[in-house]
């Protein structure tokens, strides 16, 4: 069953047509990746789906709700969470306070202390640094914090926008391992990446986005084997 169903999504920035009617879906339990070059519309897609950028046409159905015109904060309350491009952690708050902000949408029904311990188990570094001002963390630690913060809201669908950007190869591997783990624990993943090789390897399915349109789709394996993808995104 499709947890997220995007149909004919069109987004404009002024007169610029950033998304030209894209359709894709993410089924429960999957890891789905959108790959594409800079400016293809990946981040626009992510921001539009979660309500940060309004869509001009098309529809977004999430978990049975029509969220096309819903403001972002309400969508988050429905159990969608996003690690935005560039991490965008709250630089002036501590690690702990950032995680607290992640739990903002949670009512009294969830156990904050238990949740934060789970995050610390997954990211031991965050526990060591819990009272440190987030702006002083290294890039890798900030990425962990952004992921931990997004997980604090118990998302059914976790969207990650370029989580490997600017990280060392070792950390990139670690990030992809963590994404796989999060998915194994039952969270559906929508991933946007420029690192096509690594992301296709962990994806159930993937879509290729080029200048605002989806030009190719298939399973992760199929796309990794496709001549077109190899040529354009895998450097061979």
């Amino acid at each position: 069953m499709a947890l997220l169903e995007v149909k004919d999504l069109e987004v404009y920035y002024g007169v610029i047509n950033a998304l030209k009617g894209i359709s894709f879906e993410v089924n429960e339990g999957e890891i789905v990746t959108l790959i594409g070059a800079n400016g293809a519309g990946k981040t626009t897609t992510m921001q539009s789906v979660i309500g940060l950028i309004p869509a001009r046409h098309g529809s977004v159905i999430y978990d049975g709700h029509d969220i096309t015109k819903m403001p972002c904060h309400k969508i988050v309350h429905l159990g969608m969470s996003q690690v935005p491009e560039g991490r965008r952690i709250f630089q002036e708050l501590t690690v702990y306070e950032n995680l607290m902000m992640g739990a903002y949408s949670q009512g009294k029904k969830t156990n904050f202390k238990e949740d934060i311990e789970k995050i610390y188990d997954r990211f031991p570094r965050l526990k060591e640094r819990r009272n440190q001002i987030a702006g002083t963390l290294s890039g890798g630690e900030q990425q962990m914090l952004a992921m931990g913060r997004a997980l604090m809201s118990h998302p059914k669908l976790l969207m990650l926008d370029e989580p490997s950007m600017g990280l060392s190869p070792l950390l990139v591997d670690q990030v992809f391992e963590i994404i796989k783990d999060i998915n194994k624990d039952g969270t559906t993943i929508l991933l946007v990446e420029q690192n096509a090789g690594k992301s296709l390897a962990i994806s159930d399915r993937a879509y290729v986005l080029e200048t605002g349109s989806i030009v190719l789709s298939g399973t992760g394996k199929e796309l990794a084997a496709s001549e077109m993808v190899k040529k354009a995104y895998l450097g061979g």
């Binding site: 904060h73 988050v76 965008r88 709250f90 002036e92």
Partner: protein
């Protein structure tokens, strides 16, 4: 002894400025706009106090009503005048704020005329004095000082330790990321305007306790000075606004007691502003912000 009295007077006046500066700085930090109508909210609070006192007496009731009226007015102005301009050029918002300022002043003039109204919070003879040892301090000075310190402490605790307070910090840092946390940014902006306007009502009360003459430009000059205070402290920073307010209050009071300086009080305040901005362009506690696209 005179020095201590001057310092207390200065800190008390600074407390009033801090109340106003907090309104400027919170709105700037969260809605990223300069609300130049903020000073006029003080004036509307003043007239609310005037009407309450002249019909029912009871200054505390007057203050309570002024808080209510200012909060409703501040939130309404935001909804009607500023919210439709969210995302518009900062210049458009600034001009609108100046327009709202003149609108409020003109409405007050139509309703209450331009003749000064006398608002005697403590009766015509004022509230009298308090003597501590050899110190003789006017009661209203102490009331202002104590109230503004309490308000500043409560506000700081509110921002640091409540869910809404932390949401305010998040919104001021990154609106988009705050939305991704599930924060309703519009609601946070409304709350910010409400808090700022309530503080303005207190500032009006303090000002009229000090000098009872009320006209439709009551908030204009203190508004500008408090804005200066907010910039000196670092606009967007809460402790900065408090520090800047106290600083401007002290400078003003000290300049007034130094022989020959009284006439140059305002000039000295703005000179300090210029010097601070030359040395630290972001203000004393202001942080360099990375502008995000």
């Amino acid at each position: 002894m005179e020095i201590i009295e001057t310092l207390i007077n200065g800190l008390s006046l600074g407390g009033t400025y801090a109340m106003i500066a907090l309104g400027y700085t919170m709105v700037y930090g969260i809605a990223k706009m300069l609300n130049f109508a903020h000073g006029d909210i003080i004036m509307v609070g003043g007239y609310t106090l005037f009407v309450t006192l002249s019909t029912m007496g009871m200054p505390i009731l007057g203050l309570a009503l002024a808080v209510v009226v200012c909060v409703v007015l501040g939130v309404t102005v935001e909804k009607v005048a500023y919210k439709p301009l969210r995302g518009a050029s900062p210049l458009a918002v600034l001009i609108t704020a100046i327009g709202v300022s003149y609108l409020l002043q003109s409405l007050a003039q139509i309703i209450f005329s331009s003749a000064p109204r006398m608002v005697y919070v403590g009766g015509q003879d004022g509230l009298g004095f308090v003597t501590i040892g050899s110190l003789k301090i006017q009661k209203h000075i102490l009331i202002t000082l104590v109230c503004s310190v309490v308000i500043m402490v409560v506000l700081s605790l509110f921002v640091k330790y409540t869910k809404i307070g932390r949401a305010m910090i998040a919104v001021s840092e990154d609106k988009g990321a705050a939305q991704l946390m599930g924060i309703n940014v519009n609601m946070i902006i409304t709350i910010t305007f409400a808090i700022g306007s309530a503080l303005a009502a207190f500032a009006g009360f303090f000002m009229l306790m000090k000098s009872p003459s009320l006209t439709n430009t009551l908030g204009a000059m203190p508004g500008i000075k408090a804005f200066t205070a907010a910039v000196i402290g670092g606009i967007g920073s809460l402790p900065g606004a408090m520090l800047g307010g106290l600083f401007i209050g002290l400078i003003e009071t000290i300049a007034q007691v130094v022989p020959g300086m009284g006439a140059y009080t305002v000039a000295i305040e703005f000179l300090v502003l210029i010097i601070v901005l030359l040395v630290r362009p972001t203000g004393i506690l202001g942080k360099k912000r990375r502008e995000k696209v």
